[in-house]
Amino acid sequence: MNKKLLFLGFFTLILVNSIFALGISPSIHRADFEPNLELQYEFRVMANQDQEIEIYAAGDLKEYVKFSKTNFVGKNSFVANINLPEKLDRPGKHVLLIGVREIAQSASGVGVSVVVQAPIVIRVPYPGEYAELAFDMRNTNVDEKITYDLTVYSRGDQSIDTNPIIEIYDLSDNKVEELNLGSKKILNQDSFNFVGNLVNEYGAGDYRAVSIVDYVAGIAKAEKGFRVGHLFVDVNEFSNEALKLGIQPFSIEIESFWNDPIENIFAEVYISKDSEAVIDFLTPSITLNSWQKNSIVGYMDTSNLDYGTYDVRIVLNYGEKTEIEGKMKIVREKDNRFIYYIIGVFVLLIVLYFWRKRKNPVVKLVKKNGKK
């Protein structure tokens, strides 16, 4: 007998779920550190009515947390009291996690388990001046304004004097604009939001914006790409082959270069050979969202076309027009007739074989009788 079989015996591998869902609200809190700061947050727990829930703290600063309760059954709420110390050595972001988990029941088999955590983000000021940025540039269209949104956070324990600029670069990395947002003093643990519009004198295309904030003690930078759209829908590709087999689909992949939805886009398709029109048809109309790619599919009857190459002209209509030309082939369906012939001949041979085998005894019998 196989030794391995002796060792192994039987396994029953099961994963049985003991919990389905768990939730905590609010999902996040943020606070700035101050010496001996006392914080009190109430959390609600979404759980099934019979779930045994345990509350715990994890991550940074967990030793400073006390809960109003640590165990309960089902949906409930609790309070987290946080008493921060006089001083925290590490500056920057400290993430304290308030966790909620089900107390796993020991039953036959095991199961999946869910834990949800609500982070409490406590920012400790950096010594001296320190700036952090949040920067956004929104896509737009030509002749529409370009909105910039730069927030400068003073994360140090001293206020900062800022003088932000925004530089715009094109795809070839040529600087096309530099915008000075003016100087601003931002107190420590405070922030200021520079929001405004650029005069859009750029052509359509992809750009890169770099915000640079010089705050004497240092420089903070943030970067964001953005696109300037124009009302144009391009044809990326289209069906370059169709079967000579009745009604056939003709697919056109199109892409919008406009920052708003474009409705009622449809294509006129003209197929010709030797400058003689043979088929033309319209596709159904579709809507493209901003910068979206999609396909439109029309149908054509290829049964009267000859095999070979045809000229294709596609006119895309969407208020404006995009016209492209190309080629397509009308091809025959993959021919399986040869295989069918082989199978047919093979079957015929088998039939003949059995037919002859059945007939031979009679022949033999006739021959026998003749001999007699």
């Binding site: 029953t12 994963l15 389905f20 609200s25 869910v114 834990v115 955590q117």
Partner: protein, 224 residues
């Protein structure tokens, strides 16, 4: 004289009708004013706050291969939910994974941990030899784009891209809170579901028998 009495009677009816007319007009105006607000508009404000909620749900949380053993003469049996196969063993093949949905209203981070190592779960060595047991997991977006990850959590130079990718597995991490598999587990209805697939390589040398199992813990937190 008789004429005067008659005039008085007519006058009574005249004033009565006039009074009723005035009352009727006043009532009409009151009703109209109520309808069109002639008497002034009352305005009110409705305030509400929608709380942020972090919540996840295992919509599929059960995998059971039943009873089985490594085929005679084979060194390892492979049970793989992503392929839906059992190779060189006679357990029942399972093609469903564990499915987790973000049912809150914010993006989350998602970490996955097992409770046991391969050796503790299915025995058969420590995973260093080819014939040792392995306990591996795969995470994929059950709805395309549900999860993004900027870290190489597999340790293989491969990481999950958007879409449903079941082509690679990583070793089960039994150190709480586990492996960060999604640094953005989205809450949009169209892309809020990920799937965990399991691959068990069970060594024929395993000395664990009977009913066995493990707990897979999904830990979710708001993106801080």
């Amino acid at each position: 004289m008789a004429l005067k009495v008659k005039d008085r009677g007519r006058g009574f009816w005249f004033y009565l009708v006039l009074l009723l007319l005035v009352i009727s007009v006043v009532m009409f105006l009151i009703n109209i004013s109520k309808f069109y607000g002639i008497t002034g508009n009352a305005t009110g404000t409705a305030n509400l706050t929608i709380s942020t909620v972090s919540s996840i749900n295992f919509s599929t949380g059960n995998i059971s291969w039943g009873v089985g053993e490594v085929d005679s003469g084979q060194s390892v049996a492979i049970l793989d939910t992503s392929a839906g196969t059992v190779t060189d063993g006679n357990w029942t093949a399972i093609s469903v994974g564990l499915v987790i949905e973000n049912i809150g209203n914010g993006n989350l981070t998602l970490k996955i941990a097992t409770s046991k190592s391969a050796a503790e779960f299915i025995g058969g060595g420590d995973g260093t030899a080819l014939t040792d047991s392995d306990y591996r997991l795969n995470i994929s977006s059950a709805e395309s784009g549900s999860c993004t990850n900027s870290t190489d959590y597999t340790g293989t130079g491969t990481r999950m891209t958007s879409g449903y990718n079941r082509s690679f597995f990583f070793n089960a991490n039994f150190t709480s809170p586990g492996t960060l598999v999604c640094d953005n587990f989205f809450f949009d209805d169209a892309k809020d579901t990920v799937r965990i697939d399991l691959q068990l390589n069970i060594s024929a040398d395993s000395n664990i028998t009977g009913t066995i199992g493990d707990i897979i813990t999904a830990t979710a937190a708001a993106v801080a």
